[in-house]
C-alpha cells in the first residue's frame, strides 16, 4: 500500500484531475456551442460545418499531439495537454449534442415562448436541460479518453496515470508499482461510471405524443453571423487544419524516402490483418450477446451487458496489463501471441459492435423467423436465411467500426503485440519517439485516411439513433 501514497501518486492524481476539470468543461462548451450554431441558428453553410466539426475525430489524439509539437516545439505540461485533448475530443460531445438538438421538438420551445420566455432564456431553461443525456454521455466519453490516452500526453511530456503506468511497465515490466497505479486508474473509471449514471437522471426527455414532428427552429444570427463564422473557422483550423497541414508538410519534407516500401508495406498489411481478425472476432462474440439481449432479455443478458460495459470503459493500458499478468501467470504460452492481442481488442471494442448489431436485430423481428418456420424451414435454416441475413448489414457496420478502432489503437498493441509486430500506430509511435517526424508522417496520414470513413459513419449513426 505504501506505493500508492507516494508523492508521485499525488502528483499524477493532481495532473489527471486538473486535466479532466479543465478539459471536460471546455469540450462541453465547444461541443454544445458548435452543435447549437450548426443545428439551431441560420448559420451560413451549416450543412458543411456539421460535418467539419465532427472531422477532428478522424485524427488520432497522438497524431494531433505530434502535429502540435511540430508546430510549437516548446509545448509541454498541463496546459498543452488541455489544448490538445480539447481539440481532439470536443467532437465526442458535439456529435450527440447535435443529434439531440436536431431531434428536439420545436413545439416545446414554442410553448416556452408562449409562456413569455425570450430566445436566450428558452435556450437555457428548456433546450439545455434536454441535452442532459447527450452531454453527460459525451462528457463521460471525454473523461474516459483522458484517463486512457497515452501517446498524446507522452509526446508533450505531460504525466498522467496512463503514461506513468507505461513508464513503469517499460522499466520494471510486470512490476507491482505499475499494477498499483493501474488499480487507482480502474477506481477512477468506476467513479466516473457512477457519476454518469447519477448525472443522467431519471427524467423523461423523450418526445411525448404522436404525430409528425416539425422542423427545428433556427435563430437569425444577424450581426453575429461573422463572429460565428470566424469562431468556427478558428476551431476547425486548430483541431483539423493544423494537424493535417503538419502531417502533409512532414510528408513533403521527407520526400519519397519516407515511403520506404520494405518498412511501410508490412506495417500496413499487419495493421489490416489485425484489424480484420479483430473485427471478425469481435462481431462473432457480439452477435450471440446481442441476440440474447434482444430475443431473450433476462438477468443473464443484462449482467453480461453490464460487465461488458464496465470492462470496455477500462483504458487500453489496464486491459493490456491485465492480459500480460494473466497470460504470464496462467498461460505463458499465450503471452505475446496475436491471439492474446486480438482477445484484448475484442474486450476493448465489443460495445461498438454490440450497439450496431442490437439495432440491426431490432430490424429482424422474431415473427419473421417464425414465418419462415411456418413455411417449412427448420429453425436453424430459418435463422440463417432470415435473421442472420437481415442483420448482416448492421453486423458489417459494427465490424467496420471495430476495424477502424483497432487501426488507431496504440497502448494495448504496444503491450501485447508479438515481437516484430509493426502496425501503423506502433510504427508511427516508434518513429516519432525517435524524433523522426518525417518518417512518421506517412503512417499518420494513412491512419487519418482510414479513420475518416469511421468518423462519417459515427456521425450518420448518431443522427439515426438520437430519436430512440
Amino acid at each position: 500500500m505504501d506505493l500508492i501514497f507516494r508523492a508521485r501518486v499525488g502528483e499524477l492524481l493532481l495532473n489527471t484531475v486538473l486535466l479532466m476539470l479543465v478539459t471536460v468543461p471546455a469540450c462541453v462548451i465547444l461541443g454544445v456551442g458548435g452543435a447549437w450554431l450548426v443545428e439551431r441558428t441560420r448559420l451560413r453553410g451549416h450543412k458543411w460545418w456539421a460535418v467539419l466539426l465532427a472531422a477532428p475525430l478522424a485524427i488520432p489524439a497522438f497524431v494531433n499531439s505530434y502535429a502540435w509539437v511540430s508546430a510549437v516545439p516548446s509545448l509541454a505540461g498541463l496546459w498543452s495537454g488541455v489544448l490538445i485533448a480539447t481539440l481532439s475530443y470536443f467532437p465526442l460531445v458535439y456529435i450527440p449534442a447535435a443529434a439531440t438538438l436536431s431531434r428536439l421538438d420545436p413545439a416545446i420551445e414554442q410553448s416556452a415562448a408562449s409562456l413569455g420566455l425570450g430566445a436566450w432564456r428558452t435556450f437555457f431553461r428548456v433546450v439545455i436541460p434536454q441535452l442532459r443525456i447527450a452531454v453527460t454521455g459525451g462528457a463521460l466519453l471525454v473523461s474516459l479518453h483522458l484517463l486512457a490516452e497515452y501517446g498524446a500526453f507522452a509526446m508533450i511530456r505531460f504525466d498522467t496515470f496512463t503514461t506513468a503506468i507505461m513508464v513503469q511497465y517499460q522499466s520494471t515490466f510486470n512490476g507491482p508499482a505499475g499494477n498499483m497505479l493501474a488499480s487507482v486508474l480502474v477506481f477512477m473509471c468506476l467513479i466516473l461510471l457512477l457519476v454518469e449514471v447519477r448525472g443522467r437522471g431519471n427524467s423523461r426527455y423523450a418526445r411525448i405524443g404522436s404525430g409528425a414532428q416539425a422542423r427545428p427552429l433556427r435563430l437569425p444570427l444577424r450581426a453575429y453571423q461573422l463572429p460565428a463564422q470566424l469562431f468556427l473557422v478558428a476551431l476547425t483550423a486548430l483541431a483539423f487544419g493544423l494537424p493535417l497541414t503538419f502531417v502533409l508538410r512532414w510528408i513533403f519534407a521527407g520526400g519519397p524516402d519516407s515511403w520506404a516500401a520494405d518498412e511501410f508495406l508490412p506495417a500496413l498489411l499487419q495493421t489490416l490483418a489485425y484489424g480484420l481478425a479483430g473485427a471478425l472476432a469481435t462481431t462473432a462474440v457480439a452477435f450471440p450477446m446481442a441476440y440474447l439481449a434482444v430475443r431473450h432479455p433476462g438477468w443473464f443478458s443484462k449482467a453480461l451487458e453490464l460487465s461488458n460495459y464496465i470492462t470496455s470503459s477500462m483504458p487500453g493500458i489496464v486491459v493490456g496489463l491485465a492480459f500480460v499478468t494473466i497470460s504470464i501467470n496462467a498461460a505463458p504460452n499465450l503471452y505475446q501471441t496475436s491471439a492474446l492481442l486480438i482477445s484484448a481488442y475484442v474486450l476493448l471494442f465489443l460495445p461498438r459492435a454490440l450497439v450496431t448489431i442490437r439495432s440491426g436485430l431490432a430490424q429482424a423481428p422474431k415473427e419473421l423467423d417464425e414465418a419462415a418456420q411456418a413455411l417449412g424451414k427448420p429453425p436453424l435454416l430459418a435463422f440463417l436465411r432470415v435473421t442472420l441475413r437481415l442483420t448482416a448489414p448492421a453486423a458489417a457496420g459494427g465490424a467496420a467500426l471495430v476495424f477502424l478502432a483497432i487501426v488507431n489503437e496504440l497502448t494495448a498493441t504496444l503491450l501485447l503485440s508479438p515481437n516484430g509486430t509493426r502496425t501503423l500506430a506502433t510504427e508511427f509511435w516508434s518513429k516519432s519517439s525517435e524524433i523522426d517526424y518525417a518518417g512518421a508522417a506517412p503512417y499518420a496520414l494513412l491512419m487519418i485516411l482510414i479513420s475518416a470513413p469511421m468518423t462519417y459513419l459515427l456521425f450518420q449513426q448518431s443522427k439515426k439513433a438520437a430519436g430512440q
Binding site: 418456420q373 417449412g376 427448420p378 429453425p379 437481415l390
Partner: protein, 402 residues
C-alpha cells in the same frame, strides 16, 4: 298478453364444424399455458372440422393469439394435447416442430421478408429441387398463386415495401398457400388495414381459402369480422372459451352477459321470469330456454326493438347520436299501462324508467322529448341475476347499454 310478433329471422343454419365434431381436423384438448406466473390459457378445448372456418374472438389479452401460436407450433403447451388430422402434435411428450406441421400462418403485419422480392417471398417455402420442372415450375407456381389472390403476376419483381398494406397481406397469404397447407392460421391479418380495405381483403381471403377447401382459423378482436368470416365462432375471455357455436347462435343466444356485450350492443333489463315468459318494461317477451325463474336479467339486441306507430310500448327520447345511415336513440321507457295494472300490487317486478339505446334509420323521427311507440321483435335471452343484493330497490335505473 304477448306483444311480440313471431320471429322473422331465419332458423340458425347448422355449421359443418358443429355438426361433425367426430371428423375434426384440429383438436385442442384441455390446453393450458403460463408465461411465468401469469396463466394465459386455462384449459381450452376446441375442435375444428375439416374445411371449416373458425373465428377465435376475444378482447386483447384473452389468450387468443397464444392459442394460435400453440397450434402453429411456436409455443409449447404446459398441459393438454393438440392433434392435427388425428395425429398428436403437442402434449404428453409428443412434439412436432412448426416447420413439420404443414400449417399456413399469416401474421398481423403480413411478416414479409424485407430482403426478398415478392416472388422470392412466395417461393420461400417451395423447394425448387423437389418440384418437377425445378425453377421454371416455381416461377409458374408463383404467378399462379399471385393470380389466386387477385394480384398481377408482374408484381413478383417488386419489393414488399413497394406494396400497399392490403397487397402485402395478399402476398403473405399467397406465400402461406404455396405449400398447400391443410390448415391456415390467420392472426388478425386485417386489423392493420383501413376500414374499406379491411372488408374487401377479408372477403377476398375468405373466398380463396373456401375455394381451396382449407380449414381456416382466424384470430380477431373485431366481433363483426368474426361473425361474418366464420361458420364457427369461439368467444374467448380470460384464457377460457366462453362460448363456441355458429355466428347466429352466439350473437342471438350468448351464454352470458359478458359474451352478449362483447359480441355487440345489448339492451339489458331487469325482468321477472314465469314459465317461458319474461315480464319487463318492454312487456312480456318470450325466452326460449329460461335458465331460472323469478328475477332475471333480460338481453335484447337493439335491432329487436323497433319504432312502430302501433307499438304498445312508450318511450321518451333522451338524446340522439347521428351516424349518417343510422341514428342511435336513447330512450327512457315508461311503464306499460297493462303491466302497470297487472303488477301494481305485485312486488315481483317494478319496471319502468330504464334508459335503453336503440338504432333507427330516420333521424328526423327522434327529437329529444318526443314520445315514441315501440315494438319488440323475436325472443330475448335471460341470464340469471348476477350477484346483486336480492332485494333490488324499486325503479332501478335501466341497464340499457350501447
Amino acid at each position: 298478453m304477448t306483444y311480440f310478433s313471431h320471429s322473422r329471422l331465419p332458423e340458425p343454419r347448422i355449421a359443418a364444424s358443429v355438426a361433425t365434431s367426430t371428423n375434426s381436423h384440429l383438436k385442442i384438448d384441455a390446453v393450458t399455458k403460463n408465461f411465468g406466473s401469469q396463466s394465459v390459457l386455462m384449459g381450452v378445448t376446441l375442435s375444428v372440422a375439416k374445411g371449416g372456418t373458425t373465428a377465435i374472438v376475444g378482447p386483447s389479452g384473452s389468450g387468443k393469439t397464444t392459442l394460435l401460436r400453440l397450434i402453429a407450433g411456436f409455443e409449447h403447451p404446459d398441459t393438454g394435447r393438440i392433434s392435427l388430422s388425428g395425429s398428436q402434435v403437442a402434449g404428453e411428450g409428443d412434439w412436432v416442430p412448426a416447420h413439420k406441421r404443414n400449417v399456413g400462418y399469416v401474421a398481423q403485419d403480413g411478416g414479409l421478408f424485407p430482403h426478398l422480392s415478392v416472388g422470392q417471398n412466395i417461393s420461400f417455402g417451395l423447394d425448387a429441387g423437389k418440384l418437377p420442372g425445378g425453377h421454371r415450375r416455381v416461377k409458374v407456381r408463383v404467378a399462379e398463386l399471385l393470380r389466386m389472390v387477385s394480384l398481377d403476376p408482374e408484381m413478383a419483381k417488386r419489393r414488399p415495401h413497394q406494396l400497399s398494406g392490403g397487397q402485402q397481406q395478399r402476398v403473405a397469404l399467397a406465400r402461406a398457400l404455396a405449400r398447400e397447407p391443410e390448415l391456415m392460421l390467420l392472426d388478425e391479418p386485417f386489423s392493420a388495414l383501413d376500414a374499406g380495405l379491411r372488408v374487401a381483403t377479408r372477403r377476398a381471403v375468405g373466398k380463396v381459402l373456401q375455394d381451396a377447401g382449407i380449414t381456416t382459423i382466424l384470430v380477431t378482436h373485431d366481433q363483426g369480422e368474426a361473425l361474418s368470416f366464420a361458420d364457427q365462432v369461439a368467444v374467448m375471455r380470460g384464457g377460457r372459451l366462453a362460448q363456441i357455436g355458429n355466428p347466429f347462435i352466439v350473437y342471438t343466444r350468448p351464454a352470458d352477459r359478458a359474451t352478449a356485450e362483447f359480441l355487440g350492443d345489448a339492451v339489458i333489463l331487469d325482468a321477472w321470469m314465469e314459465g317461458s315468459l319474461a315480464t319487463c318494461s318492454l312487456g312480456g317477451i318470450p325466452v326460449r330456454r329460461p335458465p331460472a325463474q323469478g328475477r332475471v336479467q333480460l338481453m335484447l339486441r337493439p335491432e329487436q326493438i323497433r319504432i312502430a306507430e302501433d307499438g304498445p310500448i312508450r318511450g321518451v327520447v333522451v338524446d340522439t347520436d347521428y351516424f349518417g345511415p343510422e341514428t342511435t336513440v336513447r330512450l327512457k321507457l315508461s311503464v306499460p299501462p297493462i303491466l302497470g295494472k297487472a303488477t301494481a300490487a305485485d312486488h315481483r317486478y317494478h319496471g319502468g324508467g330504464e334508459i335503453i339505446t336503440i338504432r333507427h334509420w330516420n333521424a328526423s323521427i327522434a327529437r329529444p322529448g318526443a314520445e315514441l311507440c315501440l315494438r319488440v321483435v323475436g325472443e330475448a335471452v335471460a341470464f340469471p341475476m348476477e350477484d346483486l343484493p336480492s332485494t333490488s330497490p324499486a325503479g332501478t335505473p335501466g341497464t340499457g347499454l350501447s
